[in-house]
């Protein structure tokens, strides 16, 4: 087997910082779309956040959404074109703060869509403010003494929250901080797309990812932060799988 660039990614340089997880996750999503042969049926949504420019990287139809609204936009597309493959790619602020309502209700309706949820515990594009998933004690530009000292509350755990909803088909939390995690992440993303193709309903894969720039860390420190800190708060694993029930 020849190792090359997936057809679903354009041959361009991305704007992502060194050590950022978006590049890895873009590639995993693109590989899965290639392998399932659905590039020409795929419609993705671009979020507000660092991945807003993903239409410059993904070689398929893309709609850029208002902050937090991709699950609603995806609902409109999927209900109109039920045989197309509709996926959203969203960050933690998008999916778990401003768009929590859209996330919960698309999940509970069991919309037959695939959500790739990037949890890097920070607002990257706007310069490192507290995200809903920022860890307790973690510093950000709006929690300069660490989260939790000013009634910010603990981090929001999206997979745990959504696992209570009967409408949800598949939830898994993965990471891209070790090669083994990357392989597992791809398997989960593949399953989330396969579910949609088979008409099984709502699938969400949460990916713990690195943001060295906004964390004020080196790329290797950022990998350690995911492995040593984030995985403790956000345990990896399958939170819901209707196939297994």
């Amino acid at each position: 087997m020849e190792f090359g660039r997936p057809d679903t990614l354009y041959d361009v340089r991305t704007h992502y910082c060194p050590g950022c997880g978006h590049g890895i996750i873009h590639r995993l999503v693109a590989e899965v779309i290639d392998e399932l042969g659905v590039r020409e049926k795929a419609i993705g949504t671009a979020p507000v956040g660092c991945a807003v420019l993903l239409y410059d990287y993904f070689n398929c139809d893309i709609i850029e959404c208002a902050h937090g609204r991709p699950p609603a936009v995806a609902t409109g597309i999927k209900r109109t074109l039920p045989d197309r493959i509709v996926f959203t790619y969203q960050g933690d602020g998008d999916l778990a703060a401003i768009g929590t309502n859209e996330t919960i209700h698309a999940a509970n309706r069991g919309e037959n869509i695939t959500i790739i949820f990037i949890n890097n515990a920070i607002y990257g594009m706007t310069g490192g403010q507290m995200a809903p998933t920022t860890l307790l004690g973690q510093r950000s530009t709006t929690t300069q003494d660490g989260r939790g000292n000013n009634q910010e509350g603990p981090p929001l755990k999206v997979c745990e929250l959504l696992s209570n909803l009967d409408g949800v088909t598949y939830l898994e939390r993965v990471a891209v901080s070790t090669p083994k995690d990357v392989m597992k992440a791809k398997k989960a993303i593949r399953k989330a797309f396969e579910n949609q193709i088979a008409g099984r309903g709502f699938s969400l894969v949460e990916v713990l990812s690195m943001c060295p720039t906004a964390w004020r860390q080196t790329p290797t420190q950022a990998v350690d932060f995911v492995n040593d800190r984030m995985k403790n708060v956000f345990p990896l694993g399958v939170f819901k799988d209707k196939d297994e029930q």
């Binding site: 419609i43 139809d61 959404c65 609603a72 409109g76 074109l81 493959i85």
Partner: protein
């Protein structure tokens, strides 16, 4: 086989929903709010019958964003709400206008500001015709005055939206929405030659991928180019689509200006005045944007004064003054918060001002020395 169109007695909200179904609307998302609830209720029953989609959204915000997706995917789509809910939709409306996607938004206006009340109102005029959301954009705003017209204009709204690739708004109100009136359900006929939808995101099979976006970062001035493009489109709409009805204005010494349900009531006042030999007419814009300013300008030459009647503290009156360039006095009758005019109310006001010499109410001008 040709048969006479079916005549039905339905509420305005139901007439509007049926018009959308007839026009080929196949996606509706909405959220409950009085006095527009009959729209989603009717759609929830009708959409499945015609193979369309009805979604009761989790919020107005979600509903308008569902339209963003459905329209990008090629569906004729609609949402409806009432004033506070329309405020919530403004985010999505700005994006849809920026992305130049067609859709129809109905505002069955109620009293405001805030939660207001559930009586009919015309206090969302500014929001509808001046913008509402962020950035420079325009909606095509249609103001029906009767239920047959509501039926026709709703169907036309889909054509205008598709033709110009622009969101269109039906500016209804709690009276039009809740009243019932016989309407002939004439079959839908497109009133414009509609362009092919070459922007639809339906998967890139056999073509290059398409992107629907409203962010314009690169090159540096691309957003300015987009704004200029929009401005040119709005100028084109403005030159092509101005609808207005004039009633007995040819010899009128006083012209009542009103739109929507208020114009319907004002017709009665015109009749009362004419019975008394008073030369009173009515001008009724059907498109509130684009505003039929030329007709107002013409009338400002031939009539002595205007009387604006609206169910608000005075919003539409600003466009009347602009269009007439304040050449003639513009009197006002109206208030917000649940006041409805009667033909008699309006006639009383007409009587009070009809014989008042025009020059007793001079137009204020700032003289620059």
């Amino acid at each position: 086989m040709s048969s006479k169109p079916k005549k039905v007695l339905l509420k305005g909200n139901e007439i509007m929903a049926e018009a959308a179904i007839q026009a080929g609307c196949r996606f509706f998302a909405g959220y409950p709010i009085t006095p527009q609830n009959e729209v989603p209720e009717y759609m929830s029953k009708r959409m499945p019958q015609v193979g369309g989609t009805f979604v009761q959204a989790e919020s107005e915000l979600a509903a308008i964003n569902m339209l963003f997706g459905a329209s990008a995917a090629g569906a004729r789509c609609m949402t409806s709400s009432s004033s506070p809910g329309i405020s919530l939709k403004q985010e999505g409306i700005s994006y849809i206008a920026a992305g130049e996607l067609p859709c129809v938004i109905a505002n069955v206006q109620r009293g405001g500001p805030g939660l207001g009340n559930i009586r009919a109102s015309q206090a969302d005029y500014f929001q509808a015709v001046k913008g509402g959301g962020h950035g420079d954009y325009r909606l095509i705003v249609l103001a029906p005055s009767t239920l047959p017209e509501l039926y026709e204009l709703t169907m036309n709204a889909f054509d205008y939206a598709d033709f110009y690739r622009n969101p269109a708004m039906i500016l209804s109100d709690g009276i039009l929405g809740q009243m019932a009136e016989p309407v002939e359900l004439a079959p839908y006929e497109p009133i414009l030659k509609l362009p092919e939808k070459d922007y639809v995101l339906d998967g890139c099979a056999g073509r290059e991928p398409r992107v629907m976006k409203t962010l314009h970062l690169f090159p540096a001035m691309s957003l300015m180019d987009h704004n200029i493009h929009l401005r040119e489109k709005y100028a084109r709409i403005s030159s092509e689509l101005k609808l207005v009805e004039r009633i007995k204005t040819d010899d009128a010494e006083l012209v009542i200006a009103a739109y929507g349900i208020t114009a319907r009531v004002a017709r009665g006042a015109v009749e009362l005045a004419r019975q008394k030999g008073m030369k009173v007419g009515l001008i009724r814009p059907i498109t509130l944007w684009p505003f039929p300013d030329e007709v107002f300008k013409e009338l400002a030459e031939s009539t002595d004064k205007f009387l604006v009647v609206e169910m608000s503290n005075g919003q539409f009156i600003e466009d009347v003054k602009l269009a007439t360039e304040c050449k003639k006095p513009v009197e006002f009758l109206g208030t917000g918060g649940g006041w409805y005019p009667t033909a008699e109310n309006i006639f009383e006001k007409v009587q009070a001002i009809y014989d008042r010499p025009s020059d007793t109410r001079t137009v204020e001008r700032l003289e620059v020395v």
